[in-house]
């Protein structure tokens, strides 16, 4: 008689089940009644299954990783899926009438319900990820002031004003987030004039607090799972800085206009990367001015120099694993930064140029290591020439397992991927640059052809760090998808009685098209082209 694992007590079986992924859990549930009961009654396992079904966690759990062949196969599957996408059932998505400015995550979006204190979260369905229409019913929760979301961690943060506290909730249910500290409620200072949470990065949130009397802003980086403030910085008023993003829990990205700030010469892009914490210092540090900290600045590319108007954004890439959509890589070097620059040669809008540049974070961090900050450093300029070298590691030949189609790796060596000019195609009536994809080096642009009957989705490359050594070796060529718009969309967009504009957003699983009434700023209808 073989001894059975069923003799173990529930607690121990639960321990074992915690190491399983969604698929194994579901198989295991079918083995016997006892397993079925344990899995069904465990809140944490059900939470994990829910997330997996919503496509928020499809990466390997328990430290397991896919082998290279399997990853490449899935990548190709993903890429092929984009060419054979479908329009979701519009009847369903029209439930999302709400105010403009929805919040977007990788796979979900959140709308505010009219003027009511309610929000609903909607998961973009995807056959590839096993999320069908029935999972995409919106979850509605009473939330007066929706602040930010991070759907890869199933997290949204709602603000209470003027009480200076915020709530950490699970996006999938609206309940307090299971991993959050103290039932998900964090109190900030009481005597603030204004306080808000501006960013989430992994376990950390960035709070910005303004005190009365115009004494500047205080930035606090707090671990939201433990509630402990890790770092504080004081920013005097009028310094010309604006925090735009976390790069990782230890670095913030600060942007400023390159020509007004004394630190930047006109030859340098006004991007500053400030290390929050130095390695040798304790994590809690006294208040210190961010402006006084040494930083890394980027040089302008030569073809932009001298142009008058320029805007720019930089997007941190949270993971290099194209399949682990729900997982942040714990290693900041597995991420990828993307800098997008829009500039105009004439100052008008007709000659806008759009270009994006990619810097693998591993090479950026290795640049930082080879040019360390010292006591006397005020700033280090990353020269434009260095960008071209970034991404190709001299010590190691470009991937030993050659998975890269010829001609593609150029963009990942740090240079441009897609260049689009307004006047490039005479048939183009409208072009929208979609946001940078937060998890892949994929960038989509939509070109609306004359007559509005068809759009083109340009996607950048999909790639990944296949063997976990911090470089990128799997890439698929840039793809172009021509999609015919649904008739209802065309009818509404071409209706002369309506003053509408269409907004387009790129998500992990598809592209969301919204028709927005310009007068009321209400979303009239939503269509999702999904894969």
């Amino acid at each position: 008689m073989i001894p059975s694992f069923a003799i173990l007590v529930d607690d121990v079986l639960l321990k074992i089940l915690e190491y399983l992924d969604c698929k194994a859990l579901v198989s295991c549930q079918a083995t016997c009644r006892k397993m079925d009961r344990i899995i069904k009654s465990s809140v944490s396992l059900q939470h994990a299954i829910e997330l997996a079904l919503c496509g928020m966690v499809d990466g390997p759990r328990g430290g397991q990783s896919l082998d290279i062949t399997e990853r490449l196969r899935r990548l190709q599957l993903y890429d092929a899926a984009w060419r054979h996408g479908r329009w979701t059932n519009e009847k369903r998505t029209t439930q999302f009438h709400g105010l403009l400015e929805p919040s977007f995550g990788n796979n979900s979006l959140v709308f505010k319900h009219g003027l009511g204190n309610r929000h609903s979260s909607y998961t973009i369905p995807s056959t590839l990820r096993g999320v069908d229409e029935k999972h995409s019913d919106p979850v509605v929760y009473p939330t007066p002031d929706f602040s930010i979301m991070d759907d890869s961690q199933d997290l949204f943060i709602r603000m209470d004003r003027p009480f200076s506290r915020y709530h950490l909730r699970a996006l999938s249910t609206g309940d307090p987030h299971p991993l959050a500290y103290n039932h998900g409620i964090i109190n900030m200072v009481q005597n603030a004039q204004d306080a808000c949470v501006v960013q989430v990065c992994d376990d950390f949130v960035l709070e910005v607090i303004t005190y009365p009397g115009n004494s500047g802003h205080e930035y606090i980086v707090r671990n939201w799972k433990t509630g402990i403030p890790e770092y504080k910085a004081l920013e005097p008023v009028g310094s010309g800085y604006r925090i735009i993003d976390f790069l990782d829990p230890e670095h913030v990205l600060v942007t400023s206009n390159g020509r007004t700030h004394p630190r930047y010469s006109p030859r340098h892009i006004g991007l500053q990367i400030s290390p929050f914490r130095a390695e040798s210092t304790p994590s809690r540090r006294p208040l210190e001015s961010l402006a006084a900290r040494p930083s890394y600045c980027f040089a302008f590319p030569p073809f932009i120099q001298g142009h008058t108007e320029m805007t720019m954004s930089m997007s941190p890439w949270r993971t290099a694993d194209p399949l682990a959509t729900g997982h942040f890589s714990s290693n900041p070097e597995d991420r990828l930064f993307c800098i997008g620059i829009i500039w105009s040669a004439t100052g008008g809008t007709d000659q806008m140029h759009h270009r994006s540049f990619y810097i693998p974070s591993s090479t950026f961090y290795s640049y930082m290591r080879s040019h360390p900050m010292t006591e006397t450093t005020t700033s280090i300029y990353v020269p434009w020439e260095a960008w071209g070298r970034m991404g190709s590691r001299a010590a190691k030949p470009w991937p030993s397992r050659a998975l890269i189609p010829a001609g593609i790796p150029r963009c990942i060596r740090g240079m441009k991927s897609v260049v689009m000019d307004h006047d490039e195609d005479p048939n183009t009536t409208k072009m929208s640059i979609l946001d940078f994809h937060p998890l892949r080096v994929a960038r989509a642009a939509m070109l609306q052809r004359r007559g509005n009957t068809e759009i083109t989705i340009l996607r950048g490359n999909t790639l990944g760090d296949m063997d976990g050594d911090g470089d990128f070796e799997a890439m698929l060529p840039c793809t172009v998808t021509d999609v015919s718009m649904p008739d209802e969309y065309l009818a509404a967009a071409n209706n002369p009685d309506l003053e509408v504009l269409s907004n387009v957003y790129l998500c992990e699983n598809g592209v969301v098209f919204m028709l927005v009434d310009q007068r009321s700023k209400m979303v009239l209808d939503t269509w999702v082209y999904t894969i």
Partner: protein, 173 residues
């Protein structure tokens, strides 16, 4: 069943500050082990606290064989003096045990042994060992079909045919 053996402190010479414990396995083997090796076990620690409260030291009877017990002692000796977060009763419980290479090698045993070790570790309240065993067992069944899992886990299919074909247990992923 062995009778409770009274152990006088003088009969078990202590070495330094670490005193000795007498453990008795279910197959009636007497095993002497240093107290601080076994302090990783919450169960043993509680027993020792009991000894100190009553000034009576006696053998600790354990409901598993000496073969398993020796394996557990080997584990505890390896991590003697190490701090493992999972075993800290004051620390917040971590979700999963980290991967420890030594543990993986140590637990490279057949499924029956693994089952015995996890049972013993649970009885002795050694959370780190329970976690490592759980990971090892999960590794065995991951990626297997339901039928293969039944075989590995040694469980019988006790669903009725209707329940088995219910759509609720389908996975789309």
């Amino acid at each position: 069943m062995p009778t409770i053996v009274s152990v006088d402190d003088s009969t078990v010479p202590g070495e330094g500050s670490s005193r000795l414990l007498l453990l008795v396995s279910s197959d009636n083997k007497h095993i002497v082990v240093e107290e601080d090796i076994m302090s990783r076990s919450r169960f043993i620690s509680k027993q020792v606290e009991g000894f100190e409260a009553t000034s009576q030291r006696h053998a600790i009877l354990l409901p598993f064989s000496s073969f398993v017990l020796n394996k557990v002692i080997e584990y505890c000796s390896h991590y003697r003096g190490y701090y493992l977060l999972e075993d800290d009763p004051d620390a917040a419980p971590p979700g999963r045990s980290p991967v420890r290479e030594w543990d993986q090698e140590f637990l490279d045993v057949d499924r029956n042994m693994l089952l015995r070790i996890i049972k013993a570790a649970h009885y002795l309240e050694i959370k780190s060992l329970v976690g490592s065993c759980a990971r090892a067992i999960a590794d065995m069944i991951r990626g297997k079909t339901t039928e293969e899992m039944r075989e590995i886990l040694g469980v019988e299919n006790d669903f009725t045919p209707e329940e088995e074909h219910s759509p609720s247990s389908k996975c789309t992923g």
